[in-house]
Symmetry: D2
Subunit: 304 residues, 4 copies
């Protein structure tokens, strides 16, 4: 059975099983979505593309965008980045706050909110118009020339994001935010507002499966060495407090978002993007995790 | 430049650089060792073996032995193991205690002390003479017929291991230790007392680079699927609070011990064992980490 | 209305109200008791004594005995005690473990288990036969010549006290236990096993309301200054995570035990002892707290 | 030796001893002050007033003002206040953040920053012009008709108070802030900006030593019962992580501020205010604590 058949078979199987968990509801925009959609798209380095279900429906990619902000900053300032951030797993959300305190405002990694906020601060340092330049970078990487921030979602985040306001101020109290808190958090909320389809997602992150270069165009986004390192961080920190479980069950580096999207990478081979809005108790897509577990078991794909 | 040359070159380079950190001193036996030794041994699936420096000197493998107790238990009871243990990274030592409390005595993973102690409790459940059976298993896996526990080290651990006594009692207060605390901790101290050379270590863990089978004999230690999972756990949890850094810099699953030993695995390819007693501030071998970083950068070996 | 009338009226009122909470059940001996008993005894400096209800029924005084071990140690070594212990409130139980870690094995105060265990260690230092000498001290203070440890309760504690075994080993790992863990914890379990009636309790602690001297005999247990200090510690640390609430509602220094007993002190005036086995969610006697709140509101007795 | 003589003698003694600790420097206004000033003022219920040293020099009373905001809110809404706040000691600063998380945004007590911020939120609920009404209340209580906020200090707090901005947003994320974060924190910074002399401070808090009524005028600020309760909260929570030590050494309810000021109350007798800018490591005035310890030892004044 080839990859495409396994994809379709697994898709049908998951569709037939019960769908558990709840859609993220902390902002109205996320709660509105039809919870039982399921989209899959796999794109290989060689150019093959396989899609199932709702692979062409745009959704809020949320924290998956943190891989983009990390890529932008890493490509611009290299390892200087790690003066302001660590790359260790953070354990549960509860710990992340305690750790921020005990580690003097140095976030554990670029994928927890604290880390992504510090990354936004660095982007504010780098550019006169950080919001525009971040968007330009995402447009370049994704190849979607007319991509925009979702103003609706950014505004919603802003009206309810008190914990993120708390974070940026808390980190600034340790001196690890250089710019105005409002400007930084504004950029952060816009970063989280990006919408893509599964197909766009899989294409966007092709460089992680191709030594830093986009699949078709071979446009270099990161060096080969930086690419490996981002994959390593995704492996250890990409799924909140389920990183170990994802490594254990799926065995590929990846990143999830509370919108129900996920990407996973088989280095030098393919990127797969999944989307299904219901989240398990640890905040990752219930069907997304399940699909990837079944799929990689059948294909025997794993980095381990 | 082939693998052997890179190994030798990197070895010479590391020898010429300064050697930092301190030897573990919590038990006299560990403190006695000559701190500037450095041994390396790489063994490939195909049967090649390359050694440098003190590769034939036996040393206390300490926590590396936790991979063996995990392998024994996993091979015996399969996924039932995960009813009594998680497989998530634990953050720093400080957190591991708090997490044990907030997670009702379920250790974060099998490689923190709490997890290895629960594993010893399961071994006590499985066998009438757990100490003997564990040793038999290690003899079988390593192929060293006359391997024994180091009574010296086990006794030293016993006399100073109050924190481990605290752990086993604390976990028992949550009901996650079924046997007598003294019996369990006795087994744990013996597990940590095993001594091997780099060459023996690399040979012992061949099954992790060969779908669960030993290199030469093809003796099956674990199923292919279980092997991948142990590699995944080593990747996310194998280096205390430096797991993310090891993934970032080395990019191979592995495990370290406070005796200064380390193993790292390139799946389906090779196992490399290093030993150098001086530890960095996070408890991993200073020269071991450095060697593996330089070596894998030169060979471009990585799972990512 | 005089003190005696208020006592009786309040007693009747509390008896008529519902009785909530659960009896401590972590050891069988505590769970066996009739949960709806209520005993009160107030004894004044001048020699008056008023009792209500089950004031002559013996019960397990549990942590109230920690005031006695503190008094013994304080009288023997004075302020040297505070080299091994602090006298700050500890917040909730969860924190006490974290704090022990971050404060290097120095317990927050003598009334949390960790603190009482360190006190037992000091008693082991002071005497050749610490168990006998502690009992002698309690006999002297209470005036009950034939008082004994309850072997039943001490044994029960021993069989289920894994968390306390954990504590003593954990503290020893920081060097703040000097004697053998087993000996120290044995003494601790015996300390907690003492049984008294409300009347005996009130009489025993007369020295706290009389500048350090027993009411009738004027036998000096502590100096006047030490007495004030013990009252101060009871005020800030005497009721687990309800010390603030007890100060707020009752306004007297005091100490409670999980057997449902409590003492409270109006300095230079009286000691009142209450006993009712059902505990509120914070581990203090539901009716005991309620009685003292109503009683002191009616009498307007408070140190504030 | 009468009270006045003891005051003078103790003052001279403290002046002759070394002065340790550092002036609070987190805002420039506090750092500017001459660090070796020492002022004392004791005012009795009967109308006597004794002053020493710099008792007429105004200084920033900082957190002592939290007793005033608590008194205002308590007098207005009574025990409804405790639906939004607890009255338990908080342990160290580190814990207060963790506890806020684990206790769902309910501050431990009204004297930690989180609690005072929630109090400011309640004041914003109560009044159309909260800043003006709070000032009116403080003018009324202090009898200083022309008292104003120190705009300098309030502005300084604002420019550096990122941790407090973090707190207000964090609490709002739990729903325990009802008003706009900026308005609440603005009020909080103004509350902390009040300046008084020792003499004014002692007079202002006379109601705490007189069942809720001001000394001279007998103006009722709080009910007798509320007054006892505020004294109880000061006793258990008034000195950051030194509340136990203050109870132990001084034995009076009181409150300190990082400006180096302190008040202490002997109920039904007197209020004493001290000021000396150097702070010990726990954030309380080095000489203030020392003075009160010596003074109360000599007078034997204590609530215990």
């Amino acid at each position: 059975m080839d990859c495409k058949d396994i994809l379709n078979t697994t898709y049908q199987q998951i569709l037939n099983e019960e769908n558990l968990g709840a859609v993220a509801s902390y902002i109205p925009e996320l709660a509105k979505v039809n919870p039982d959609q399921l989209g899959i798209c796999l794109i290989t380095k060689e150019g093959s593309s396989y899609s199932c279900g709702d692979a062409q429906t745009p959704f809020s990619i949320q924290s998956i965008a943190k891989v983009l902000s990390l890529s932008l900053v890493f490509s611009k300032i290299g390892d200087d980045l790690w003066k302001r951030m660590d790359f260790e797993p953070s354990g549960n959300a509860f710990n992340s706050l305690v750790q921020l305190e005990s580690e003097n405002g140095i976030p554990r990694n670029p994928f927890i909110n604290a880390g992504a906020i510090v990354m936004c601060d660095i982007i504010c340092d780098l550019f006169d118009d950080p919001k525009k330049e971040l968007l330009n970078f995402i447009r370049k990487v994704s190849g979607i020339a007319d991509l925009s921030y979702s103003q609706n979602i950014a505004n919603s985040e802003k009206q309810t994001g008190f914990r993120n306001y708390a974070l940026v101020n808390f980190i600034k109290s340790f001196g690890n935010i250089k710019n105005d808190c409002d400007q930084v958090i504004e950029l952060y909320f816009h970063l989280c507002s990006i919408e893509m389809t599964c197909e766009q997602l899989a294409r966007t992150f092709g460089y992680l499966a191709n030594q830093g270069k986009q699949f078709k165009t071979q446009l270099e986004i990161l060096s080969s060495s930086q690419t490996k390192r981002i994959n390593a961080i995704m492996q250890t920190c990409g799924f909140y407090d389920e990183a170990g479980e994802f490594a254990f069950k799926v065995g590929l580096p990846g990143k999830s978002g509370v919108g129900g999207g996920m990407i996973a990478v088989l280095p030098n081979s393919y990127v797969i993007a999944t989307w299904s809005p219901r989240l398990n108790t640890r905040g990752n897509s219930y069907r997304g995790i399940k699909f990837l577990e079944e799929f990689t078991t059948a294909t025997q794909d794993t980095v381990f």
